[in-house]
């Protein structure tokens, strides 16, 4: 609760308002940032970084940075990660200047192409060297975009996850499920942008707007203490009628919570609600009680409630959760080692046994931490790459060998890979 003291002291000089910058990296990221509607939030700065001069020129964003002119002559990365990386490496100083001195940096990128996938982690690295809290919203390519883009995205996520405080993955396959019945692919990209917009807006509103329960950067920092780990994000919205119940239902049905992740494993979560003036403390309490019951976090839940006069008769709930990776990663690793291990059979028993320990005894985290650390050290990189978003979509099968068939993971639901839209809500 030391955070309240922080917020008091920062209120002393009103000129030192919270400095937030949202940075779109690459084509998709810049587009998404361009479409953000944050007018009601006052001073949130927006910037775009790209290798494609023409795309930047056409963008309405005021703060733009063309990177890698020496590498690409401003013609874009052409889907090549190496070019994207070289471009960002070449302009580290310019990136640092653009990042400047911020309290919160939100990166937005679409993974699978050349610029976003590679440059995002370099931008994040630069940002992480400042005191800023760095979060990233990243869209992941549709399955039908092919194995190459998927691989690029997976590797990009692995790299980015190490340097940001929170990485929020948005698999397009999953987002498509939320579009209208006849969502075309182009519309689907718009759906992704809407999700990013919703997440970014909710975060900023929570920090900048006054409300029933104020949250500040300090509370956000307690949720995202360390870089790495896994972040869960989801929203629910409803208006009219019994909007509290409907928004909760909508939240629980948010597809981002249903990719096989188990919210029970979250270490810390942050819940923010935005409602109109009619949102009394009683209703807020009702929401809080239900959400904390559903997202049972081991340590603590941070709540925020924002009042927006223009939003009477509606409720938006945004949940951000963070799970440290160690436990899961070590179980994965033991499993992977088991799959790789050659014949000596006692070895298997040993590994089988130790993976059991890692899973079952997890509540006593401190006791086993040393053990897990040891394991983690053995193949640190491996963990980062094996535990990906695709992994999350495998759900029940996440501890078994990959089920690769012709560049597809058969454990991931077919309807998601094929882009078949499933409508589960019944309209009254």
């Amino acid at each position: 609760m030391s955070t309240h003291i922080d917020s008091l002291s920062s209120n002393e000089g009103l000129s030192t308002a919270l400095k937030i910058k949202i940075v779109g990296v690459g084509g998709a990221g810049s587009n998404a940032v361009n479409g953000l509607k944050l007018d009601d939030l006052g001073d949130v700065r927006i910037a775009a970084i790209n290798t494609d001069a023409q795309a930047l020129a056409n963008s309405a964003i005021s703060e733009k940075l063309l990177i890698g002119r020496s590498v690409t002559r401003g013609l874009g990365a052409g889907g090549e990660v190496e070019i994207g990386r070289a471009a960002a490496e070449a302009d580290r100083e310019a990136i640092a200047a653009l990042i400047g001195d911020m309290d919160l940096i939100i990166l937005v990128a679409g993974f699978g192409g050349g610029t976003g996938s590679a440059a995002a982690s370099i931008v994040a690295e630069v940002a992480a060297k400042t005191d800023a809290l760095v979060l990233a919203f990243v869209t992941l390519p549709f399955s039908f975009e092919g194995a190459r883009r998927k691989r690029i995205a997976t590797e990009g996520v692995g790299e980015l996850r190490k340097v940001v405080h929170g990485l929020i993955p948005l698999p397009n396959d999953v987002l498509l499920q939320e579009g209208e019945e006849d969502t075309s692919v182009l519309n689907a990209f718009a759906v992704a942008d809407r999700w990013i917009g919703c997440g970014v807006h909710s975060l900023c509103a929570m920090l900048l707007k006054t409300g029933l329960i104020n949250q500040d950067l300090g509370s956000l920092r307690t949720v995202f203490q360390n870089p790495g780990g896994k972040t869960i994000f989801g929203t629910g919205f409803a208006s009219g009628g019994d909007y509290v119940k409907d928004a909760l239902d909508d939240l629980l049905l948010c597809p981002l919570f249903h990719m096989g992740d188990r919210p029970a494993q979250l270490d810390r979560i942050l819940v923010n609600v935005i409602g109109g003036a009619d949102l009394g403390i009683a209703k807020v309490n009702e929401v809080m009680a239900l959400v904390s019951k559903r997202f049972d976090s081991r340590e603590d839940i941070v709540f925020g409630a924002v009042i927006d006069e223009s939003r009477n008769d509606s409720l938006e709930i945004c949940v951000l959760g963070k799970a440290e990776m160690e436990r899961k990663a070590s179980a994965n690793e033991a499993q992977a080692a088991q799959a790789r291990a050659p014949s000596p059979s006692h070895q298997l028993e040993e590994l089988g046994l130790s993976s059991e320990i890692a899973q079952d005894d997890s509540p006593e985290r401190t006791v086993h931490k040393s053990k897990l650390r040891k394991k983690k050290m053995r193949s640190d990189d491996q963990d980062e790459f094996t535990f990906t978003e695709v992994e999350a979509q495998r759900g029940y099968f996440h501890k078994t060998d990959r089920n690769e068939y012709k560049d597809e993971d058969l454990d991931v639901p077919t309807y998601l890979r094929r882009g078949i839209k499933i409508k589960i809500k019944i309209k009254a």
Partner: protein, 403 residues
């Protein structure tokens, strides 16, 4: 009496462990004297993921069957499945040795040996060498002995698996002090009891869709020409439903059994389904369309993959699969699955009614693999179609295991 032995046919499946006890009398008599099945633990996609859990449930199933039959098992026939199983087709060639160009037994042996000599990587173990027809100077001959010709060839469909994975299953059985006499891959076992000889002759595809894997075997002109495992089964349907409908696995499993259909109809859009149907808190309504669309995507993909594998092996010849597709395994109970199989594979398809010569309780799709194992225990080496065992395979694996 010393002629009789009790064989335990054991299938360690992803959702169930199935055991059937058969008493084999002399060379030809088989009495089924007990059976049991219990829910699996520690097994996913046909492969043991937790040795202790798997051992516990397999041991429980074996002990229950022994208790039911009031006897002890002498030897175990064990089914094998999982994506680690692979096969390749090898052709052995020999030049007929004698001056009169008449094929001697030694020539046949040599051709066979030639086909089986292909070495595997250290981590792999042959499980079956399945003989295909002989050919003499390019012409198929069924019985080459004493025929004349210059060049004798024989094909073999050889199935091999990951040694470690195979060992794990042997360890489980070894854990209660039982010896595995033979291992048969699930698809071959099911095929053996579900098809009539005439159907094997006309050509047929048997698809055994279980909880975690789909095993298939293709018969062409009476020979097993292709086997395969798609590591996808009923568990995947449940998982897809659980993700798609945003509900727990239990609810998804229930909805699959209660309301599942393998294909989607436009009318499903209008129809609503309650999750529990008991008016309790948490009960929700779903459009049936959501359920059937999710299932259809998954089920048709399974058959699409099988078709692709047939096509890649150049064995997708509908007139050579005249007896069509026979579906078995627990997931074959899914309503409409024959229709989807037929659509995807472009072949007539039906749900198996089980072998007619066993008790009704055993005629269910869940038991076909174990019955097939007993079939092999009975016919043994006499059957020319018996997949022959690489010499000493069990001994070699046992040594690895230090059993």
């Amino acid at each position: 009496m010393s002629q009789s032995r009790v064989v335990g046919a054991v299938e360690i499946g992803t959702s169930k462990v199935t055991v059937i006890l058969g008493e084999i009398i002399g060379d030809s008599g088989l009495n089924i004297i007990g059976h049991s099945s219990c829910f699996s633990k520690g097994i996913k996609k046909g492969v043991i993921t937790d040795l202790k859990d798997a051992s516990d449930c397999v041991h429980a199933a074996i002990l229950t069957a022994e208790k039911n039959a009031n006897t002890r098992i002498d030897e175990v026939y064990l089914a094998q499945t999982g994506s680690h199983l692979q096969g390749n087709f090898n052709v052995g060639t020999t030049t007929v040795g004698s001056s009169d160009s008449v094929v001697r037994a030694a020539d046949i042996e040599q051709a066979k040996e030639d086909a089986k000599r292909r070495k595997l990587r250290d981590s792999r173990t042959y499980i079956h060498h399945i003989q295909n027809p002989f050919s003499m100077d390019g012409q198929q001959v069924d019985h080459p002995l004493s025929k004349t010709g210059a060049r004798l060839q024989v094909g073999y469909w050889s199935v091999h698996g990951d040694s470690q994975t195979v060992c794990d299953s042997l360890r489980v059985i070894g854990g209660i002090d039982l010896a595995v006499s033979d291992m048969i891959i699930s698809s071959i076992a099911s095929g053996a009891v579900l098809l009539e000889e005439s159907e094997k002759g006309n050509g047929a595809l048997v698809v055994d869709i279980g909880g975690g894997t789909t095993d298939f075997v293709l018969y062409r002109k009476g020979y097993i020409v292709l086997t395969g495992v798609v590591p996808v089964g009923g568990d995947h349907i449940t998982n897809d439903l659980s993700i798609g409908l945003r509900m727990g696995r239990k609810g998804a499993e229930e909805i699959k059994r209660k309301n599942g259909r393998a294909y989607y109809k436009t009318e499903d859009r209008e129809e609503k389904v309650w999750l529990f149907g008991d008016l309790t808190i948490g009960d929700r309504e779903y459009p049936l369309a959501a359920i059937t669309q999710i299932i259809e995507a998954r089920v048709s993909e399974i058959f699409d993959i099988i078709k692709e594998q047939l096509v890649e092996a150049k064995l997708y010849v509908p007139e050579d699969i005249a007896s069509g597709v026979v579906l078995t395994g627990g997931t074959s109970r899914l309503v409409g699955i024959d229709e989807v199989a037929s659509r995807s594979l472009g072949l007539a398809a039906r749900q198996s009614e089980g072998p007619q010569d066993v008790a009704a309780a055993l005629r269910v799709p869940e038991y076909s693999t174990a019955l097939g194992l007993l079939h092999y225990a009975l016919t043994g080496q006499e059957d020319t179609q018996q997949p022959s065992k690489p010499v000493g395979i069990l001994g070699r694996l046992s040594r690895i295991l230090n059993l």
